[in-house]
């Protein structure tokens, strides 16, 4: 699925998994990339699963490379 509040630039992804780690840690209580709502498929595809919560932008806060960024309103 796509998210209106998050912009994706897969070319910038360093595949560090931080987005997957914070997502799974927050919503499952453990660092578990397979249970994350964001999928990073090498070489350069980023997508969200249907379980991704509307409005959640946690992954953007932990992306240090500009691959997943918050779209500011207005």
């Amino acid at each position: 699925m796509e998210k209106a509040n998050i912009s994706i630039d897969a070319a910038k992804c360093a595949e560090c998994m931080s987005c997957q780690l914070i997502c799974s840690f927050t919503y499952t209580g453990a660092f578990n990339p397979e249970k994350s709502c964001i999928v990073i498929s090498p070489p350069a595809e980023i997508r969200f699963t249907d379980e991704c919560r509307e409005g959640c932008i946690l992954c953007t806060r932990y992306c240090d490379f500009g691959a997943v960024t918050r779209v500011k309103e207005g």
Partner: protein, 645 residues
């Protein structure tokens, strides 16, 4: 019991008989030796018999993780490999070191832990080419006949497509044709962009082990989620607000030069993020357009171009890309090709020895052909593939003294960074490791040790060095032994740098990532807090540093058992010779100096070694741990290893 930080299991695989078993992690062992190489080396104490041939089925490969790997702790992407390495480390070609490779990765280690295993210990030899699949409870030795012979990138692509499902989270450790053909300076390759296990590719090749594939769904829990999150966020804020961070983080290691920045097509990092030190580069135009390589050390293409006198950077990229795809150590390949080419020019090798090659300095086609001979073990390539000592013994010369351009060799290894040149890369007193040369020499596997690097700051002073030592948790008496008002003792400081580096390794943390981006360099107090929050095992900074020392001593014991002594911690003779550098800022002859620029003599260097062993509490004459030190560290049960060398 439930494990936090740790996955709680060690996986044992015997490739000879296909036996696979799971062992619960002993928590008392984890408290003493933390994890990573701490646990890995302790497994080798029991599983690896002294004087085992590194290429025999009896050698053991232990892949390890630390309790913080796979979490959000910045830099928590380091994996470890403990084994007996394939490079002969003595002139009589009878000694081989037992040591630790630390390597980056994003999915390999994270998925190994998510599958439920902190360590995977592999012994035996498979009857045919195989790879190991580690996916939760489904552990299987699989047929690798379709990927055997393929380069690391192609084999990785095939295995990931086969096992990663819809999520793309499959991790891989793979050897190339060099490892398959038992080239002693071959290595593994992790998750496409991280070289992993210098001199261990052949150990896997000898086991008919092409790859390990990891994928897991179990999750890594932490004991105190609230405290752990606070500590991670504190360190993230500290790093993100560091003046250097925003200027450097987006560029991987390509940050260091215009050419590297202009050719960069992407950066890759380890799990845990923040510092992505692997950059991918591609030639944009000309004859070698499209030639590509990935790696973590930005000076390598320049080193290749200068040392082999290639006409342009595109040729260097092409050669480097080929070395990587074969799964060869770039440093040893480069130095050995250069050395053999010189020896041919001097008449020590004939055209027949070279297998009929047209030897032309600066000719890419010649270098590629020689590389092919190494990997296929043909003609001179078959001797080169055996390592430095076998090659030099065959030629009747000593590479460490007779190598014109200067290749520092210790324990059979060409050191990645020449201690004479390294300070030249930076301003005086800036950014270089005051213990660099010594740290390389005293380590079991001579290397470009990270101990006491200060890459994060433009200016560094003696006060900064002391501040770091204080942050490492040194006592007043220890500090007084190291520091005077206007100087410090390199040998004594290196002891604590080595212990602190070992702490990072045991935890699964990349010290490079934190060095580049944060101050102070060694935040042992923060690490002890985050370790306690993650695992539920309370530990003080001093105890954590002591655990690092314990692991360091354990690694030394494994090598004492193999016969290594102070004689093997040899200062490379070329370090006492001048070396010419073309670097504009430091043009002309360079020589080995101390922190303050004073030229070092052999007596100075031996004095540094004396002080290093003394600070370690080791026997200064022999350069090995004493029983008293082992007792102090709670390692009494290993004391008999002192007698078996």
């Amino acid at each position: 019991m439930e494990y936090y930080g740790y996955s709680g299991n060690i996986l044992h695989v015997d490739l000879s008989n296909g036996h696979i078993r799971k062992e619960r992690l002993d928590t008392s062992l984890a408290r003493r030796l933390i994890g990573g190489p701490g646990i890995g080396l302790s497994l080798l104490v029991d599983m690896l018999k002294p004087h085992t041939d590194p290429l025999s089925p009896e050698n053991v490969l232990v892949f390890g993780t630390g309790p913080l790997l796979g979490t959000l702790v910045p830099g928590s992407g380091k994996c470890y490999l403990n084994t007996k390495y394939s490079m002969p480390a003595s002139k009589d070609e009878k000694k081989y070191f037992v040591s630790t490779s630390m390597f980056g990765g994003n999915r390999f280690g994270t998925m190994m832990k998510n599958a439920g295993y902190d360590h995977v210990a592999i012994t035996g030899r498979a009857a045919k080419p195989s790879y190991l699949k580690v996916t939760d409870e489904d552990v299987e030795i699989c047929d690798a006949s379709d990927v055997w012979g393929k380069d690391v990138y192609e084999a990785g692509r095939i295995l990931r497509e086969r096992h990663q499902g819809s999520t793309g989270n499959c991790g891989t450790w793979i050897i190339g044709p060099a490892g398959e053909n038992l080239v002693t300076f071959s290595l593994g390759w992790t998750d496409d962009w991280h070289n992993a296990g210098r001199f261990a590719g052949a150990v896997a090749g000898a086991k008919n082990l092409k790859a390990i594939v990891t994928l897991g769904h179990k999750g890594i829990k932490v004991a105190n989620k609230k405290r752990f999150t606070e500590l991670v966020q504190k360190k993230r804020r500290e790093i993100l607000s560091h003046p250097k961070y925003q200027a450097t983080a987006p560029f991987g290691t390509g940050r260091t030069g215009r050419l590297m920045t202009e050719t960069m097509v992407g950066i890759k990092g380890c799990s845990g993020g923040m510092c992505a030190c692997k950059s991918i580069h591609e030639v944009k135009e000309g004859k070698h357009k499209g030639a590509r390589f990935g790696g973590s050390f930005p000076a390598v293409p320049s080193m290749i171009q200068m040392q082999l006198q290639l006409s342009d950077y595109g040729e260097a990229f092409a050669l480097l890309g080929r070395m990587n795809s074969y799964g060869l150590c770039v440093s040893t390949s480069l130095n050995m090709i250069s050395f053999v080419t010189q020896q041919y020019a001097h008449g020590a090798l004939s055209k027949e020895d070279m297998g009929g090659l047209e030897v032309k300095i600066g000719d890419l086609d010649y270098y590629l052909a020689l590389l092919e001979k190494i990997v296929r073990r043909q003609d001179i390539g078959a001797i080169m593939a055996e390592g430095w000592y076998p090659l030099c013994n065959r030629l009747g010369i000593d590479a460490s003294t007779d190598y014109e351009t200067g290749c520092a060799i210790t324990k059979g290894i060409d050191l990645l960074v020449d201690a004479r040149i390294w300070p030249s890369l930076f301003k005086e007193g800036t950014g270089f490791n005051p213990c660099m040369g010594l740290g390389s020499v005293v380590h079991a596997k001579a290397k470009h040790t990270h101990s006491a690097t200060y890459w994060s700051r433009d200016e560094i002073s003696l006060a900064d060095v002391k501040k770091d030592a204080e942050k490492m948790g040194l006592t007043k008496s220890e500090l007084d032994r190291i520091f005077t008002e206007d100087s410090f003792d390199t040998g004594r400081l290196e002891k604590y740098g080595g212990d602190a580096e070992t702490v990072y390794n045991a935890l699964g943390i990349c010290d490079t990532a934190l060095h580049w981006e944060s101050d102070p360099v060694r935040d042992i107090p923060w690490l002890s807090e985050v370790y306690s929050a993650a695992t539920g095992f309370d530990i003080t900074p001093r105890e954590l540093l002591r655990a690092g020392e314990r692991i360091f001593n354990l690694e030394k014991l494994l090598n004492v058992r193999e016969g290594f002594t102070r004689e093997d911690d040899r200062i490379p003779p070329v370090y006492l010779q001048n070396i010419e550098t073309p670097l504009p800022a430091r043009e002309g002859d360079r020589y080995l100096t101390d922190w303050f620029g004073k030229r070092l003599t052999r007596e100075d260097l031996e004095g540094m070694l004396d002080n290093y062993y003394q600070e370690r509490g080791w026997d200064v004459q022999e350069g090995v741990p004493t029983r008293r030190k082992l007792s102090e560290l709670g390692l009494e049960e290993f004391a008999e290893m002192l007698e078996s060398g």
